[in-house]
């Protein structure tokens, strides 16, 4: 059975102005649909990557998974427990201990006033666990020195800080780690170090990752399955080789075409047209139709369902 099972997940944010402005300026309430009817499963010991441009809802899904945000509709089940609706506190607690998160900015996600030792053991200490010698062991596991435990975060570089974040995420011995753009703030050579560390840890400890990123080459490198998001909707899901060799959704095709390629010198790109639409008033039907070269009448009227197509799942009327 899948470790994580996301079903028809929807998250709507109320972005209305305060009521007085609404009365005076005669504005209606405004709602932003960040995630709309997204379903996918994450297998145990695999890496599931979510890619998409800004505003595609990838971070919102990550936050819902770890329980930082409740879903508006739909469910997220981890080991068959729906965190948002489960009544049995003991079961919720058991599942919660299995999830950890790594954030994008290692400068903002470490408390500057805490020593590294206290930062790392916090997930265990908060639950009253025994933490003696734990920080030192974890620091060595992520390639830092045990002596670093007594230092403060400002004494480390960006890559080292991200290693501290990883050590903290490992402290409670989780099974699932949600990684929200874990290498986006890092330089390439440091990114390579962190990506290698993450895949080693996954193999050694049997971890499962939800890997959120906008960088297609990183995703291809690390993931076992990729979900492509556009305006809060999952438009395509496939194994990375399948996705990169034979993208089926026009949006995926556009994204792959637009990404800069290292081997193609002086490549002339026919740049993609248009921009991501306003998520407060998304286009009717398929959200991609205003920019899509294949769009026909049905695309403007009906939202496409996810369907299986040659080893992938794709939400497009026209793809074949």
């Amino acid at each position: 059975m899948a470790l994580v099972s996301v079903a028809n997940l929807t998250r709507i944010f109320d972005v209305s102005k305060p009521w007085l402005n609404r009365v005076v300026e005669r504005r209606k309430k405004a709602f932003l649909t960040a995630v709309s009817d997204v379903s996918f499963d994450i297998e145990e010991r695999s890496v599931y990557a979510l890619v998409g441009e800004s505003g595609s809802g990838k971070s919102t899904i990550g936050k819902i998974l770890v329980g930082l945000l409740p879903p508006t509709e739909g469910s997220v089940k981890i080991r068959d427990v729906d965190l948002a609706r489960e009544r049995d506190a003991a079961r919720v607690d058991a599942v919660r201990a299995d999830i950890q998160m790594i954030f994008q900015d290692p400068y903002a996600s470490l408390n500057p006033r805490w020593r590294v030792r206290d930062i790392i053991v916090e997930p265990v200490a908060a639950r009253g666990g025994e933490t003696k010698g734990m920080a030192e062991k974890l620091l060595e596991q992520v390639g830092l020195s045990a002596r670093d435990a007594g230092k403060f975060p400002h004494e480390f570089s960006g890559g080292q800080r991200q290693r501290i974040c990883i050590a903290r995420a490992l402290a409670s011995e989780p099974r699932l780690i949600v990684c929200d753009e874990p290498t986006s703030a890092l330089d390439v050579s440091v990114q390579a170090q962190v990506l290698n560390l993450m895949s080693d840890l996954k193999d050694d400890l049997g971890l499962t990752y939800l890997f959120i990123s906008h960088d297609l080459t990183v995703v291809q490198h690390i993931s076992d399955k990729v979900g492509v998001l556009y305006l809060g909707r999952l438009v395509e899901e496939a194994a990375p080789d399948e996705l990169f060799d034979d993208p089926k959704h026009p949006y995926t095709q556009m994204l792959l075409e637009a990404a800069p390629k290292l081997g193609e010198f002086g490549r002339e790109v026919d740049p993609p047209k248009g921009e991501i639409p306003d998520p407060i008033n998304p286009p009717p039907g398929c959200a991609y139709h205003p920019r899509c070269p294949l769009a026909e009448d049905i695309c403007r009227k009906e939202r496409p369902e996810m369907r299986a197509l040659r080893g992938a799942r794709v939400a497009c009327h026209m793809a074949e």
């Binding site: 050579s189 390579a192 895949s199 960088d215 490198h221 800069p260 290292l262 010198f265 740049p271």
Partner: protein, 326 residues
């Protein structure tokens, strides 16, 4: 290469501090020709932006140009002060920054910002300047330029804002544009639009471009030549195809190896051990030697050789070696 628009010789930027003098840029030399795009790559702290800021005269004190010469269109500019530099900046050299929101004044309509720039640098009437502002917006592909000219920066999306910044940089028809990470804050699809725009504008006008970025993919697609910087020095300089496919400096080689690539699939990424040294603790000799797999005794004593006639690698033992260490 035809005549050089920008010519930098032995440029050194120093920051005096309590603990001694730091050199974020240390003796770099290169030329950019008419219509040429020179990519400057390197990791954070390599001194790429500092070199760009030195050219356009935007070093914030106490940083200063300590040595070397900068020529733009044959005129020496590194010693210019205040007014003289201000006349040049915008007129001869345009600048595009990373974050389009902070490089536009949020309180002024974009039309006013454009006409202000045009009036400051070109001898034209206000109505002519306004006409040119509309034309500039048109040229960078902003739909409905005549109406959008009265909009404020916050009314534009990120990609459109970056187009406005490019229009601003281009409106006085400079001969050199310095683009400092122009697409780093943008999504891939918008990035492709902006890169294509920069390339076509330069081709049409023959503007020289200094493209500063950390993204090797962007460099490969947009640049003619590339300069790789490490710890304030040029590690390697050459035609983009040569440098990226057959790197001669071990640092460039490591950088390429650590970039995830479609063709490499899931193979383990190459790692450069360690991290870029801090400016106040630069190693002796070649700054890369503690991280270099090929370093020998000489490397820890002698700084790398000068780049021969502005090409090649600043390395005592440039690649390829006979016995390549993986």
């Amino acid at each position: 290469m035809s005549e050089a628009i920008l010519s930098i010789r032995d440029l050194t930027v120093e920051i005096p501090t309590r603990h001694g003098i730091l050199r974020p840029v240390d003796g770099i030399s290169y030329d950019i020709g008419r219509g040429e795009v020179l990519g400057i790559v390197g990791e954070s702290g390599a001194g790429k932006s500092m070199a760009g800021n030195a050219v356009i005269g935007l070093l914030s004190p106490p940083a200063r140009i300590a040595k070397g010469e900068i020529h733009v269109g044959g005129t020496r500019i590194d010693h210019l002060k205040g007014d003289a530099m201000r006349r040049l900046r915008g007129k001869e050299i345009g600048m595009v920054f990373q974050d389009p929101l902070t490089s536009l004044n949020p309180l002024l309509r974009i039309g006013d910002q454009l006409t202000e720039t045009i009036l400051a640098h070109l001898d034209v009437s206000r109505s002519e300047a306004e006409k040119r502002a509309v034309a500039a917006l048109d040229e960078v592909g902003i739909p409905g330029a005549r109406e959008r000219i009265n909009s404020y920066p916050h009314e534009f999306s990120g990609g459109m804002r970056q187009r406005v910044v490019i229009a601003l940089a281009l409106c006085a028809e400079p001969s050199l544009i310095i683009a400092d990470e122009p697409t780093t804050a943008l999504d891939v699809s918008v990035q492709a639009q902006i890169i294509a725009l920069l390339k076509s504008l330069c081709r049409e006008r023959g503007t020289a471009v200094m493209l500063i970025t950390h993204d090797m993919g962007v460099i490969a697609e947009a640049a003619d030549r590339v300069a790789v910087m490490y710890a304030g020095k040029l590690a390697e300089l050459g035609p983009v195809r040569d440098v990226l496919t057959t790197p001669r400096h071990p640092y460039t080689d490591g950088l390429m190896g650590s970039t995830p690539l479609a063709s490499r699939g899931k193979a383990r990424l190459h790692q450069i051990p360690g991290a870029m040294p801090r400016l106040d603790a630069l190693p002796s000799g070649c700054a890369f030697h503690p991280r270099c797999p090929y370093a020998q005794d000489k490397c820890s004593v002698d700084p790398g050789p000068d780049l021969a006639d502005g090409n090649g690698a600043a390395c005592w033992f440039p690649l390829p070696h006979d016995a390549k260490v993986a």
